[in-house]
Subunit: 287 residues, 2 copies
């Protein structure tokens, strides 16, 4: 049996009792580092924090030795993991909900092809936890991803999607780029594996890129006065949620990753009332 277990968004205490039971009865436990690196309050010293997290997971809570399955391992050695699952119970831990990312869908497909039984233990993901800001989840349009712009690569296909959502009065969740374990350009040239330090897009960078594209396109899909909600470390004890115009949010230091951004569409009274609690002027007034 292969258990694919969502860990939720905060820390090791966000696993469900069902998930913990599955970990405890599994002979082998993997944690998907590619995704898990992205959460658990990683700062510039990301790797040591991650290591601390594993120690915590292993020693204090789950009582199991855990193998870190990084991006390469999941993509290249999935069959080894699945082979183990044919004859014993294997737990595969994933930050958030197992089906937030395509990688895990692919793992399930491979498992089913090999005749391995799969059980999924769901948990919170960004896709539903953004509900905390008060904007109703059923009033979101298509989700968009914002990639880091480079000097030569500035894709902007998200623009039409945001434009469409806004015309319909719908909210737009923007998932912000994450670069973990990217081979460095130098290492690609020399043929040995070295990696860039991890990068996480901040709310301010996302807004800068959005405004740059709006200026190029000039179709008024949104402006610097459009209301947005910025999120940092969603679901963690120290999460930060701030609502304001793009211009206002540009000036907010959201702190350590992960960040995400919602572009607000038309709002109903209950949504508006809740959003007010997160608005910048109000927050400053309370401080």
């Amino acid at each position: 049996m292969l258990y694919i277990i969502g860990l939720g968004l905060g820390d090791e205490k966000d696993i469900t009792l069902r998930g913990l039971e599955a970990v405890q009865k599994s002979q082998k436990v993997f944690i998907e580092a590619y995704t898990s690196l992205l959460s658990f309050g990683i700062s510039s010293d990301g790797l040591s924090t991650l290591k601390e997290m594993y120690n915590l997971l292993q020693e204090k809570l789950y009582g199991k030795s855990i193998t870190v399955a990084d991006r390469e391992m999941v993509e290249e050695k999935a069959d080894d993991i699945l082979l183990e699952a044919t004859s014993s119970d294997v737990a595969f831990l994933v930050v958030g909900d197992p089906f937030g990312a395509t990688t895990h869908t692919d793992l399930v497909v491979r498992a089913k092809k090999l005749g391995v039984d799969v059980k999924v233990v769901h948990n919170a993901s960004v896709m539903n936890a953004i509900g905390v800001c008060g904007l109703q989840l059923y009033r979101y349009g298509e989700t968009v991803s914002l990639p880091f712009f480079t000097d030569t690569w500035r894709p902007d296909s998200f623009y039409e999607k945001i434009q469409r959502n806004r015309k319909l009065g719908l909210h737009t969740l923007c998932l912000l780029d994450i670069r973990v374990k990217e081979p460095s350009l130098e290492s690609l040239c020399r043929g040995k594996k070295q990696y860039e330090p991890p990068r996480f897009m901040a709310v301010s960078v996302a807004i800068e890129q959005l405004l740059e594209v709006e200026q190029m396109r000039g179709e008024n899909a949104y402006t610097e006065d459009t209301t947005c909600v910025g999120f940092a470390r969603l679901g963690s004890e120290d999460q930060l949620v701030v609502a304001g115009s793009m211009k206002q949010l540009l000036e907010v230091d959201f702190g350590p990753p992960l960040h995400c951004l919602v572009i607000v569409g038309d709002t109903h009274p209950v949504e508006e009332e809740m959003l007010d609690f997160y608005k910048l002027a109000k927050k400053q007034g309370q401080a």
Copy 2:
């Protein structure tokens, strides 16, 4: 402090460790029956099953006495609950994630107005758990709700939304109507409180209503050959997920509630591959 704690979708074991800790340190624990009735494997004998669930929650797991806060209580007596939370820790348990429904947003707004601190413990909800069928969550358009048609009330505003999503190649999540603790017509006339038995819309009823509206409108937003995915008891041990055309799914007995339905948009290869595992012909072939 008011803790609003998501219970997830399956049973009492889907609470997170963080949620359980909050329950354990709370002086008073409420469970929102209006929503919770909707899950936890309710059959025709819904109420006794719910009672069993409470007993289980109270005696075996959470070790606390739990007050059932039904729809009226939440709407009319919220201030009493909140008053308790000003001077002690109060846990308010909700099936799924706390922000799946507007009711809970409203409770948070009231709490904040009274100066009560609120902590939210997230969990899985239908909005992300539908990812299990392999359709990517970021490729869904606006969510729609299908209400039970009556002889005189047949609202069809969902039709345009589905049409729009499908034109864009996006998937549509259809939330199916739930009627719990609805006052009976007779009781409204006589002025004493009596309730209709709970009703939950089945996948087949949803499809019948969808096809009826399509026949009336005739704009080809979808047809009886459109691929859909039907879900029953999502996130539970005995969940059922079946993919097929509307015509095919009409004939499937999905069993006890809750049900929901996804109308499939354009699919990518990985989505298609995963969906294949749930397709009707394949399932029959495997049986």
